[in-house]
Amino acid sequence: MRKAAATFFVNGRSYEELVPSNMTLLELLRDRLDLTGTKRGCSASGNCGACTVLVDGKPTLACVTLAWSAREKQIVTIEGLAKEGSLHPIQQAFLDHGAVQCGYCTPGMVLSAKALLDQNPDPTEQEVREALAGNLCRCTGYVKIVEAVLAAAQTLKSGTMTGGCVPW
């Protein structure tokens, strides 16, 4: 096929789109669905991690994924994390720890962190660093980002332990 209709489930919403075979997932999200929180960083070579989104829960580089490959799958972008005006605990931790400077890497960082914490609720600092190794930051030096992810893990854990009042 060179162009075909497909359904995409993005942030819990379904979209019917006519996509050409040569459209990347990044182009679909940014240009078609106006979800510009997902960033294009390294000229689509898969090196910087700014375009990281979750596809069926797995951290995926949208710039080197064909949109067609992501059809019928659950896609989560940074726009899908905040619920009813409340930031996700990872986002809140990034704010609280000053882990955002220019902000360009942040959406990818947050989603890589979410992929880690969904699988491993109590990671070590080393595990956090390894999980974020595919996300380049040119401002912060990473220390505050790692601290934020570790703090978010604690917040999420305590939320779960006190009866699951955190809706994420």
Binding site: M1, P20, A44, G46
Partner: protein, 325 residues
């Protein structure tokens, strides 16, 4: 609207046979599309311009990772590097595969990239290729003329090429069981841990009665393809693996490689590092082969025991698996 990728036809066969048929009648330059990581990134830079992609993503059950009837580990063409890294089966019985997969790039790259794709790219800097060399892996190919099995040592052709015909598809990697009393190690040097290797080295040694019975050493990123260091392997045969012997063998290995200078490292530096990594890998593999119970007996035999440095936290499942019952 601007598109990063040039237009192409995308075909989605639903069986391997159909994929082979489509590939046989596809226009020149058609590519097999599995994880797509390397292919799409090269297409975005317009380094390749395939008129047609034949996707394996719709074919059921192509991401298998299991032990076959013959005891071989079977790895499917859609099995990702991340699956290898996280598999308990691999960690326990083929820890070398897990050790190398763990050191590749990033979680995203490993989540998207497949082992077979990594091999078909045929970069001399692949971290998985040297490991599969020392594990004596085989590749299952299918094409219009039928199926074939080739040892991985016959697969690569200098530079960044393989013997894969344009109409063939790699459908399986199979890895024999680890030999009894074998230990393995993988060492890599890169700019950062997420970067491509400047040099890497994989070693498998079999130790019996304190003596090296078999050694397999393969180095990556130091020649147009992966290098088996045969002279270094022979130097270890029949001897206790001391630090001095490992050093001698490592120097022989470094003499066998023909690296280039590029932006990552100079040829001279690569040669020196090849020796260092090989020595460390030999000692770590020997330690692993002897771990845990046999180590004491071995220390009594060898005047110059190997250093435990750098092996902390490694899985030595194969070593204990190889212990006599």
């Amino acid at each position: 609207m601007h598109r990063t990728l040039r237009p192409f036809e995308l075909l989605e066969p639903e069986s391997v046979q159909e994929a082979v048929q489509i590939l046989a009648s596809a226009p020149p330059g058609a590519k097999i599309f599995a994880g797509g990581l390397d292919l799409v990134s090269r297409m975005t830079r317009w380094q390749v311009d395939p008129p047609c992609l034949i996707s394996l993503q719709r074919i059921p059950a192509m991401d298998f990772l299991e032990v076959g009837e013959n005891g071989y580990l079977r790895i499917g063409p859609m099995t990702t590097l991340r699956s290898l890294e996280l598999s308990g089966l691999v960690r326990e019985r083929w820890p070398l595969l897990q050790e190398a997969a763990h050191q590749i790039a990033s979680v995203q790259v490993k989540t998207m990239g497949t082992l077979v794709g990594n091999l078909c790219v045929a970069t001399p800097a692949s971290d998985m290729a040297p490991v599969l060399f020392v594990l004596a892996a085989q590749l299952g190919l299918v094409g219009p003329a039928g199926s074939a099995t080739v040892p991985i040592e016959d697969f690569f052709v200098p530079v960044c090429q393989s013997i894969l015909e344009p109409q063939q598809i790699v459908v399986e990697v199979s890895v024999p069981p680890m030999p009894a009393r074998a230990g393995t190690a993988f060492k890599k040097l890169a700019h950062t841990k997420a970067c491509i290797a400047k040099v890497n080295a994989a070693v498998l040694v079999t130790v019996e009665d304190g003596l090296c019975r078999d050694a397999r050493i393969a180095l990556g990123a130091v020649a147009p393809t992966v290098v088996r260091a045969h002279k270094a392997e022979q130097a270890l045969q029949g001897k206790p693996i001391t630090r001095r012997l490992a050093c001698e063998a490592a120097n022989l290995a470094a003499a066998e490689v023909t690296p280039i200078s590029d932006l990552r490292a100079s040829a001279d530096y690569r040669k020196r590092v090849a020796a260092v990594l090989t020595q460390r890998a030999i000692l770590a593999a020997a330690e692993c082969a002897l771990a845990p119970d046999a180590a004491a007996a071995w220390h009594a035999l060898a005047a110059d025991p190997p250093t435990p440095a750098g092996v902390a936290g490694r899985t030595c499942g194969a070593g204990s698996q190889g212990e006599p019952a």
